[in-house]
Amino acid sequence: MAARTFSVRAPTPMPGWGLSFGIMLTMLSVVVLIPMAVLLWRGFVGFGAAGMWEVVNRPRVWNALELSFRAALIASLFNLVFGVLLAWVLVRYRFPGKRIVDAAVDLPFALPTAVAGIALTAIYAPNGMFGSALMQSFGLRVAYTEIGIWIALIFVGLPFVVRTVQPVIEEIDRETEEASATLGASRLRTLTHVILPMLAPAALTGFALALARSVGEYGSVIFIAGNLPNVTEIAPLLIVIRLEEFDYDGAVAIAIAMLVISFALLLAINLIQIWSRRRMGAA
């Protein structure tokens, strides 16, 4: 027994290895690992890659997948830019109500998605507070169009970039900025060439988290989207529709397609991040 565990775990007098590792592995298996394995087995072994491709390779499914990833990318890009800006404002500036604003940034984490969904729909619907104003002044429909989906996903992903970038800005040594100014750089140049590169890795982490969250988002989107097939029907909704038709293979195929695309995207972001860290390290 001892000889076997030694190869996996370094010796230590600390107690509770068996109990803590046992609880962790059992719960992780029951809640996450076995269900995920069942999904993948059901897809790749039970249904087969060819069968799944046939389900996914249809206009309605492609349109839903494209919409989900496009809207998530647009919303996360907005949150990337706005998140860095908001983090800067929250760390560097003093203004009345700052503490409340800082706390409120986490509202999307705390507010249930269904609540956010009906609330956003209420204000952006053609007869709502902002919806009617936008309609009358610009002829712009927000609710029940793709723009509505962007709004919901921006809401859902808002805190991620702010919360990853904020601690990094706090850690920035003011002397770096002073050095840059002493060497004759304008404030703008210091911000774009000295500060922003320092924030890039953290901002990308936040971007990846926001993207992962908003690709799969369901609750806040379905109320505001209108859910018109091929136009405003997101991929998670299509999975729900397949399940309601008892088409389990169809649901599995779309779910696996979403996982594969998400995985590829997150991998790409990870590579960019490694590249930007190296660049920072070399500089």
């Binding site: 230590t12 600390m14 996450v32 409120a104 986490d106 269904a114 009906i118 507070m129 902002f130 609750g219």
Partner: protein
């Protein structure tokens, strides 16, 4: 002594090299507040505004309906089961990960984080596949009087999946930072393992634990997508508060929907308040990312 150099008439207002001009600063603050108003504050206001459209009495009456009451009870029940289980998992995982050195740790941490990057709908689908009517296990469980899907156990499992990483993610960085020295000292002085945990470790991690539990609870009570898939939405039996909101909303019972939403929004505000209080008072005992 008469040829003292002329004093410059008026020095230019001094601005440190590490700030932006006041005009830029206030425009950025204004822009941020405007975006947050449109995206965060307005929806929050709209929830309460819509709920109270026909007065307090009408709104409160919608909460005392049997369906609404059973939804509230179910949501409380699911949170009461899910949160302690995930807290226990979080403590066990953080202990195993931070107090011992073993191979495969990075993989386990990745798997714990997995639910954060999976769509809630896919999470629900996982448990339909495992325990649904088309799986042997599901059939057997139904035959033995323990249905999982379209019943409370399925809702609990789906909620556990969604909230799985919250406590562990909060505790791991804190316990990593605190190290093992205090526990080792207690053990050397003859304390038992449990006593070491209860009197040394637990007091060190209590605020971080509370922080994780708070976020876990908020998500558990508010989860929609995963629960919508596994619950079957049987009125009065498997309908949680967020699902009840959807039902009322689709039935054009606007006040009832927004009143239920208002209750959950109040919960969110309480969560945010407690969370901020923890961040301000016990920043040194929370994970580094929450210290600002």
């Amino acid at each position: 002594m008469t040829d003292t150099p002329a004093i410059p008439a008026r020095p230019r207002p001094f601005r440190p090299a590490t700030t932006e001009p006041a005009l830029v600063k206030w425009s950025l603050i204004g822009l941020c507040l405007a975006v947050l108003t449109v995206l965060l504050f307005a929806p929050l206001y709209a929830v309460f505004d819509e709920a109270l459209r026909r007065g307090w009495a009408f709104a409160l009456a919608s909460l005392s309906e049997p369906d609404a009451q059973s939804a509230i009870r179910l949501t409380l029940l699911v949170a009461a089961i899910t949160v302690p289980l995930n807290a226990a998992f979080g403590i066990a995982a953080a202990w195993a990960i931070t107090k011992f050195d073993w191979r495969g740790k990075a993989w386990v941490i990745t798997f714990i984080d997995l639910p954060f990057s999976i769509s809630p709908v896919v999470a629900g689908l996982l448990f339909i596949l495992m325990f649904g009517a088309n799986s042997a296990l599901g059939m057997w469980l139904v035959a033995n009087g323990l249905p999982v899907v379209f019943a409370v156990p399925g809702i609990v499992l789906a909620t556990m999946f969604i909230t799985f990483p919250f406590v562990a993610r909060e505790l791991i960085p804190v316990m990593l930072e605190q190290g093992r020295a205090e526990e080792e000292a207690a053990l050397t002085l003859g304390a038992s393992g449990w006593r070491t945990f209860l009197t040394v470790t637990l007091p060190n991690i209590r605020w971080a634990l509370l922080y994780g539990v708070l976020l876990c609870n908020a998500r558990a009570m508010g989860e929609f997508g995963a629960v919508a898939v596994v619950s079957g939405k049987i009125r009065g039996q498997t309908t949680t508060m967020p699902l009840m909101i959807e039902m009322f909303y689709n039935e054009y019972l606007s006040v009832a929907a927004f009143t239920m939403a208002g209750v959950l929004a109040l919960l969110a505000l309480v969560t945010l308040t407690l969370k901020s209080a923890l961040e301000w008072r016990y920043a040194d005992q929370l994970a580094a990312t929450h210290r600002h």
